[in-house]
Amino acid sequence: MARKTIQDKLAILADAAKYDASCASSGGQRRDSRDGKGLGSSGGAGICHAYAPDGRCISLLKILMTNFCIYDCVYCVNRLSSQVERARFTVDEVVHLTIEFYRRNYIEGLFLSSGIIRSPDDTMADMVRIARTLRERENFRGYIHLKTIPDASPDLIDEAGRWADRLSINVELPTEQALTQLAPEKSAQTIRKAMADVRARREAAKDTSHRGTRARRFAPAGQSTQMIVGADDATDGQILGSASQLYASYKLGRVYYSAFSPIPDSSHLLPLIRPPLMREHRLYQADWMMRFYGFAHEEIAPKSGMLDLQIDPKLAWALANRAHFPVDVNKAPREMLLRVPGFGPRSVDRILAARRHRTLRYEDLVPVGCVLRHARPFISLPGWSPRGLPDDENLRARFAPPPEQLSLF
C-alpha cells in the first residue's frame, strides 16, 4: 500500500470528524499577537470562516488525530468493526495544517478529536502533545478545542485544560441505558465524573490565593458536550431533562444535539434513518428557551414527550398556556415579555429601554425587532387589541403549515 499523503489523511480524518456538531470558537481568554512574537488572537465573538452546503459553519479545523479506534460504538463511523479506510496524523502534520490554515485566515483554530488507540491515556497524551506544540513551539494564540477522553488520567486532563480553550466530553446518548447498549465500552458514570472534574478544575482556576496570585488557567472557554438524537428511543422530554441536568451540574457552555445521520458502513444493530433534522432544530430552540428565556425543561416538552415539529416550542407553549395572554407590553415584567412568541431577548431589552421614556404603541414594535406575525395574538398595547384571538380554537392553524395530502403510493 502506498504511503498516504497529508492530503489523503486530511480527506479521511476530516470526513471522520464531521459528525461532531460543535464548531464554536467564542469566549475564553482574550489574546492577540500585536507584539509580533506569535500568531493568532482569540476571545470575544467567534467567526465562521466558511459554510458547507449542509448549512454548518466551519470555524475550526475539525479533524481526528486518528480514526483507528478500539471502541465499538454502534452509531459511530469509526467504530472498531467498521470497515472504513483508516489513517493517522503525526503531531507535526496536525500542527502544520493548523498553522498554515490559520495564516491564510481559513480557520479560528483547531478542534481535535480522536479515535482511541492503544489506551485512553496514550491517545490523550498524543492529543495534549499537539496542543502543547502549537502553544509552545509555534506560539499559537488562536483557539484550541480538545475532545477529552473520559477514561484518561486526571493529570492528562489537567494538562489538556492548560493548553486548550475548551474541553468537551460527549455524553453521546441521552440515557445511561442507551449508552450501555450502543456504546458498551463507554461508561456514562465515567463521563459524568470527567465532566465534574473539568468543572471543579475550572472553578479552582478562577480562585485567587490569599496572596492574590491567580491559579493556572484551565479551559477558559468552558466545556461542552454532544448528544445524538434519534439513535435510541429517548423522547424530547428525556433529552431536554438530561440537558438541563448537564447544564446545572457541570456549567456547560453548550449542549449540542446531533441528528443521527447516515454513515458509510453502518452496523446491522442500528439501521440507518433519514436524519431527524427538524427534531434537532426544535431541540435547539427548546435549549435556547431554557438558557435565555427562563423556561424550565418540564414546561417545554408536552405530555407526549415529543416536541411539535410543525410549530416552534415557544409558540407551542403559548398556545398551551393561553391563560397568561394577552400580555400588556407596557406593563409586563421582563420574564413574561420573554415568553411572548416573536419577542427575543434583544427586542425585550429594547422594549424595556423604550418603556422608561414613553408608552409603546403597536407600530413601535417592528423597528424594535419583534416578529408581529407570531406576537399579535398574544399582546395588547395602544394601537392593538387581540380581541378574541387568544381564545380562538383555530389559533394553531394560523401558524402551522397547511395540511398536506399524503401520497397514496
Binding site: S33, I47, A50, Y51, I70, Q83, P262, I263, L277
Partner: protein, 482 residues
C-alpha cells in the same frame, strides 16, 4: 450652502471634526453638503446664499452613541453624513434619545450600523490570504483581495493586525488597501486590482472543505444566508459548492441503501472490556467505591456524577452519618467538603473532635437534586431511596463496628432507626437499635445554614457542638484541641 469635502482615507475622523465645528458655528443640517474625495466642482455652485445660522451647539455624546455613529458612517449610502449630522445635533440638544427606533432617521442609522457591522464581520471571516513571500522567510508575507460592500477597510483592518502580528500582509479592495509591514498598519488608495497568485495550501483547504461536508444533511439556504453568493468569487473553496450540492442526494441515498455490515471476527478480540465492579456480599470498605458508583438500586445514580462513600478510620469508635452528598461532595467524591461540611468542622474543632478519628458517611450515597438553570437544588431523598441505600450503610456499620453512631438530621435518623419522626424532640437522646448499636440523634449542619435569624443560628450551632461533644465522650475519644 456649506460644502464639506471629506477625504477618502480617514473619512469618519474627518467627519467628526467637521461636524463638531459646524455645530459650534450653528450651521443647520439642511445647509451642509457633504462630499467625499477630491473636489470635482459643485454643479450648482457652492457659493450660494450664506447659510442661516442657528444656535451654537457643543457636541457631547455618550460613548455608545459615538461608537454607533462611527460604524454607521462606514456605510456606502451617500446620505449617511447628512443623516448622522442631523442626528447628532438632535442628540446634543436632547431632542432625541440614542437608540430610539421610533425616529425614522435614528432607525435608519441603526440599521446601517448593523449592516456595516455584519460586513466587517464577513470581511474578518472571508478574507483569504495567499502566501507571496518565501515560507522560510523570518517574517512571512501574505496578500489578499477582498470586495466588501461598504467602506470598512479601515474599521476592519486592526483585527487582522491583532491576529497576524508576526507576518506581513496586504489586503487590497477596490477602494482602499490595508498594509501591515513590520508591525505598522497603513492605508492607501488602491491602485491595482490584481489578485495574488494561487497558493499551494488552497488544495488542502479545498480537500478539507469537501470532506467536512455531510451530504445527508444538505441545507443550501442555511449556507447561503450566512455565506451569500456575492462573496463566493473570492473564496477558493466556493468553486466546489455546486458539485457538492448536485451529488449530495445520491451520496446520501447510497449510504442508506448500502447493506449494514456485521462486525468482523477481530472485533471481539480487540475491544477492551471494562472491569465489572465487585458487587454483592463480597464488597468490603476498600472495594466499596467502584461498586457504589455502579449502584442502581434506586434512580439517583444515573443523575449524580459519582457516589460518595464514607471516609475516615476503618475501625473508628465513632461513626457520623449525614443525609446525602451535596454539590461539592458530588464533584469531589468526598463526604462533607461543602458548606455544611465546614459548619461540621467548625463545631467539631471546638470540642476537640478530629475527623481522622471517626468514620464520616451519609445515609444516601448519591446526590439528589433538581436542575434550575445553572444550579442544582438539593432535594430530600425519599423513603424508598433511603431504604435502597440502607444496604450500603449496613455494610459500613458492619465493617466499622463503631461504639457509637451519630445521626445528623432526619434522613440519617430514619435510615438508622427506622423512625423518621421530627428530630427537634429527639435530638440529644440516644436510641438503641435491635442489634444493640447506640445512635445519638442530632441536627444536620445544613439545617444551621438554612436558618436566617442569627440568634437561632447561634443556638442551633451550640446544640450541634454540645451533641458532638457528647458523642466524642460516649465513643471514648480524647479531646484534641489544636
Amino acid at each position: 450652502m456649506r460644502v464639506v469635502q471629506l477625504p477618502h482615507l480617514g473619512t469618519v475622523a474627518a467627519w467628526r471634526d467637521e461636524a463638531r465645528m459646524l455645530a459650534l458655528d450653528g450651521i443647520p443640517p439642511e445647509a451642509v453638503l457633504w462630499r467625499v474625495g477630491a473636489d470635482a466642482g459643485d454643479l450648482f455652485g457652492s457659493a450660494g446664499a450664506p447659510a442661516a445660522v442657528g444656535p451654537s451647539v457643543t457636541l457631547k455624546l455618550a460613548r455608545d452613541a459615538v461608537a454607533g455613529l462611527e460604524t454607521a458612517l462606514c456605510h456606502s449610502d451617500p446620505e449617511r453624513f447628512a443623516r448622522a449630522y442631523d442626528v447628532v445635533l438632535r442628540l446634543a440638544r436632547r431632542d432625541l434619545r440614542w437608540g430610539d427606533r421610533s425616529d425614522p432617521a435614528m432607525c435608519r442609522l441603526l440599521l446601517q450600523e448593523k449592516a456595516v457591522r455584519r460586513d466587517i464581520h464577513k470581511m474578518h471571516a472571508f478574507v483569504r490570504f495567499r502566501e507571496v513571500g518565501l515560507p522560510t522567510a523570518p517574517r512571512r508575507a501574505f496578500a489578499a483581495w477582498f470586495e466588501p460592500e461598504h467602506l470598512i477597510v479601515e474599521a476592519a483592518a486592526p483585527f487582522f493586525a491583532r491576529r497576524f502580528g508576526d507576518m506581513d500582509w496586504v489586503i487590497a479592495t477596490p477602494t482602499v488597501t490595508a498594509r501591515f509591514e513590520d508591525g505598522a498598519l497603513s492605508f492607501d488608495l488602491s491602485r491595482s486590482t490584481a489578485r495574488p497568485p494561487e497558493d499551494a495550501t488552497e488544495a488542502l483547504w479545498r480537500t478539507y472543505f469537501a470532506n467536512i461536508f455531510n451530504p445527508a444533511r444538505l441545507m443550501v439556504s442555511a449556507m447561503t444566508s450566512e455565506m451569500p453568493r456575492k462573496y463566493w468569487k473570492n473564496l477558493p473553496e466556493a468553486a466546489l459548492i455546486p458539485d457538492m450540492i448536485r451529488t449530495a442526494p445520491a451520496r446520501a441515498r447510497a449510504m442508506q441503501e448500502a447493506m449494514p455490515t456485521f462486525a468482523p471476527a477481530y472485533t471481539d478480540r480487540l475491544r477492551p472490556v471494562r472491569p465489572t465492579p465487585i458487587t454483592g456480599p463480597a464488597v468490603t470498605l476498600a472495594t466499596m467505591k467502584p461498586a457504589l458508583d455502579a449502584c442502581r438500586r434506586c434512580g439517583l445514580g444515573v443523575c449524580a456524577s459519582q457516589a460518595v462513600a464514607g471516609e475516615g478510620l476503618a475501625q473508628a469508635a465513632l461513626m457520623i452519618v449525614g443525609e446525602q452528598p451535596g454539590d461539592a461532595e458530588d464533584l469531589s467524591g468526598r463526604p462533607f467538603v461543602g458548606p455544611a461540611g465546614q459548619v461540621f468542622d467548625r463545631c467539631a474543632t471546638r470540642v476537640g473532635l478530629r475527623r481522622q478519628d471517626c468514620y464520616v458517611t451519609n445515609a444516601v450515597k448519591h446526590f439528589k437534586f433538581s436542575a434550575r438553570g445553572k444550579v442544582r437544588l438539593h432535594q430530600r431523598p425519599d423513603a424508598a431511596e433511603i431504604e435502597a441505600c440502607k444496604w450500603w450503610l449496613n455494610l459500613e456499620l458492619r465493617e466499622v463496628a463503631p461504639r457509637l453512631v451519630l445521626a445528623m438530621g432526619a434522613t440519617a435518623a430514619l435510615s438508622l432507626t427506622g423512625n423518621g419522626a421530627d428530630i427537634s424532640g429527639r435530638r440529644g437522646s440516644i436510641e438503641t437499635l435491635p442489634d444493640g448499636t447506640r445512635v445519638l440523634i442530632t441536627l444536620h449542619p445544613s439545617h444551621i445554614l438554612r436558618l436566617t435569624d442569627p440568634a437561632s443560628k447561634t443556638n442551633a450551632e451550640a446544640l450541634l457542638t454540645q451533641d458532638l461533644n457528647q458523642a466524642r465522650q460516649l465513643a471514648g475519644l480524647r479531646s484534641n484541641t489544636p
